[in-house]
């Protein structure tokens, strides 16, 4: 059954979209990630214009993170204060990302820019995760002692603030920067950015792990919602029909993914996730490095 997407202006098979949403939902349910980093490249692969893929990807992440953040609220696993600081940074970053997106679009380099961002960030994070989780798998017997209070650069900066739920008394500058970086990526890659924010919260900010996931989901929900609005208002590139199908497929897939996820060990999950992230990075890297079958491309002049 073909479906004509009103904004993307392409006709796609409904079952391909539901399947795509379902597959990504399955993986995101299994690993507990938003899945934006899979949705956006996959949409481009089936012929959705990059600008629409990024904007609609952000809209899809809103749906997948909203139910997560509500569940975390019930468990009191959200540091509202930290979340608010991260969100303020995120909105700033997303706005800057929107400008850069426009600039690259005008220069005709948007595809390459989006692809390079994917290769760089997914490669970096995937590689780090893989090394880290393989190491921890090898030394599972040895207990890792983490010092409760380590003074780093983070503690010497001005504008200190108390984040009770996270167990921190640090400057607001590092969380603002982390939030802004993630917001920037959200605007140009159509992702939530959890895969970058979670490690940054643990290793850079030193937050208590029990509030990390909830707080990152809190920030992601607000920032992707804002990103969706910015894209909708300035570029008219959010395709509601496309988003709806992806979300429906995604929610169903996530239920099954979550069931498989609980049967696997945390280390195994992280190794699988890092391999998945790396696979996406390598696939996109090949697209950039191999000689394309068609050197020419056509862009409609907008405005």
């Amino acid at each position: 059954m073909q479906l004509y997407l009103p904004i993307a202006e392409v006709s796609v098979n409904v079952f391909v979209l539901l399947g795509l949403g379902g597959l990504v939902g399955f993986l995101s349910g299994m690993f507990g990630v938003g899945g934006g980093f899979l949705i956006t490249p996959l949409l481009m692969l089936i012929g959705v214009p990059p600008a629409v893929a990024v904007a609609t990807g952000a809209n899809q992440v809103v749906a997948s993170s909203i139910s997560g953040v509500l569940a975390q609220f019930k468990r009191r696993a959200v540091d509202m204060k930290m979340g608010a600081v991260l969100t303020v940074g995120g909105l700033l970053g997303s706005t800057i990302g929107g400008f850069v997106f426009d600039l690259m679009n005008r220069l005709g380099q948007i595809d390459v820019f989006v692809q390079l961002s994917y290769v760089l960030f997914l490669g970096l994070i995937g590689g780090m995760m893989l090394v880290e989780s393989v190491r921890s798998l090898l030394r599972t017997s040895k207990a890792v002692v983490r010092r409760g209070h380590v003074h780093t650069l983070v503690h010497r900066m001005p504008f200190k603030m108390k984040f009770r739920a996270s167990g921190l008394y640090i400057s607001v500058i590092p969380p603002l920067i982390v939030g802004a970086a993630v917001g920037f990526l959200s605007a140009i890659m159509g992702v939530g950015g959890g895969f970058i924010m979670v490690p940054a919260m643990i290793y850079l900010l030193g937050m208590q792990t029990k509030v990390v996931v909830g707080t990152s989901l809190f920030q992601i929900t607000f920032v992707t919602a804002y990103t969706t609005l910015v894209h909708a208002v300035t570029h008219h590139t959010v395709d509601m029909m496309l988003a709806l199908l992806l979300i429906l497929g995604g929610v169903i897939g996530a239920q099954f993914g979550a069931r498989v996820g609980v049967r696997l060990k945390a280390e195994q999950l992280r190794i699988l996730l890092s391999l998945l992230v790396l696979a996406v990075a390598v696939k996109i890297a090949f697209d950039l490095l191999l000689t394309p079958s068609e050197l020419y491309s056509i862009t409609r002049v907008v405005g």
């Binding site: 809209n59 008219h236 429906l248």
Partner: protein, 248 residues
């Protein structure tokens, strides 16, 4: 008296040896949610007030042309190992869709001069900005990409011509149509010269939900954006609640 007047009136009209009487199977195309392309039938007849000449034979060319738009054609080049868009050529106007159906080899049934005058073949419909050395390559690439995607089509011998008078052809419009007026032109030629030409229009427009969503997204983007978010929240939260109930 009336007969005389009518006869005078007919004489006063420019005398053409052959004229087209034609029709199109539909005057409009609605792009609805399940739109998957459509076939347009163009049919008609050449009527004449005197016996047709035996030679050269009558030939028919039918074109359908979608709305034109300015474009940029870009070419990728390897820069430090990565394929980047480097060269670019501005195209002032190129049709989003263009199909040519004929009764024979277009090069034989239409002279280059007539082609240039009426802009019949695909290269004649593309207008570049200025002129540069390798512009030709970019225009050729534009034609190649659009031909591969089915947007530009040349179907020779696809017009059925009966007894040198009745003709018909089917032209398929693909699913990825751009909205706007589509120009249908019918040419009668003899010996490469255009004998008569007729033009009509098919309107292609989004309809129903497609129309509503598109208009909302373009005219009230803020409301559309907020609706997209509400939809995402309701769908995301609602569906997970539903599953919780089902499991419980």
């Amino acid at each position: 008296m009336i007969r005389v007047l009518l006869a005078l009136l007919l004489l006063a009209l420019p005398v053409r040896a052959e004229e087209i009487v034609s029709g199109v199977s539909q005057s409009g195309v609605s792009i609805t949610t399940n739109f998957d392309g459509t076939a347009i039938m163009v049919y008609g007849a050449a009527i004449r007030d005197r016996p047709a000449p035996d030679w050269p034979l009558l030939q028919v060319i039918i074109t359908i042309e979608g709305p034109s738009a300015p474009l940029v054609v870009r070419k990728k080049e390897r820069v430090a190992g990565i394929w980047l868009n480097r060269g670019a050529v501005q195209i002032a106007s190129a049709p989003s869709f263009y199909a040519v159906a004929t009764t024979g080899d277009i090069g034989e049934i239409l002279s280059p001069a007539e082609d240039a005058k009426y802009h019949v073949t695909i290269p004649q419909t593309i207008e570049a900005v200025g002129s540069s050395a390798d512009q030709g390559k970019y225009i050729a690439a534009l034609q190649r990409i659009r031909a591969e995607s089915g947007s530009y089509r040349l179907a020779q011998d696809s017009v059925l011509l009966l007894r040198q008078s009745l003709f018909r052809t089917d032209i398929t419009l693909p699913a990825n149509l751009v909205e706007g007026p589509y120009k249908v032109r019918i040419f009668l030629t003899r010996g490469g010269e255009v004998v008569d030409m007729q033009e009509s229009q098919i309107n292609v427009a989004k309809a129903g939900l497609e129309r509503a969503l598109y208009n909302l997204a373009m005219q009230s983007p803020l409301i559309y954006g907020v609706l997209s978010l509400l939809m995402a929240m309701v769908a995301g939260w609602g569906a997970s609640e539903l599953f919780k109930r089902l499991r419980a």
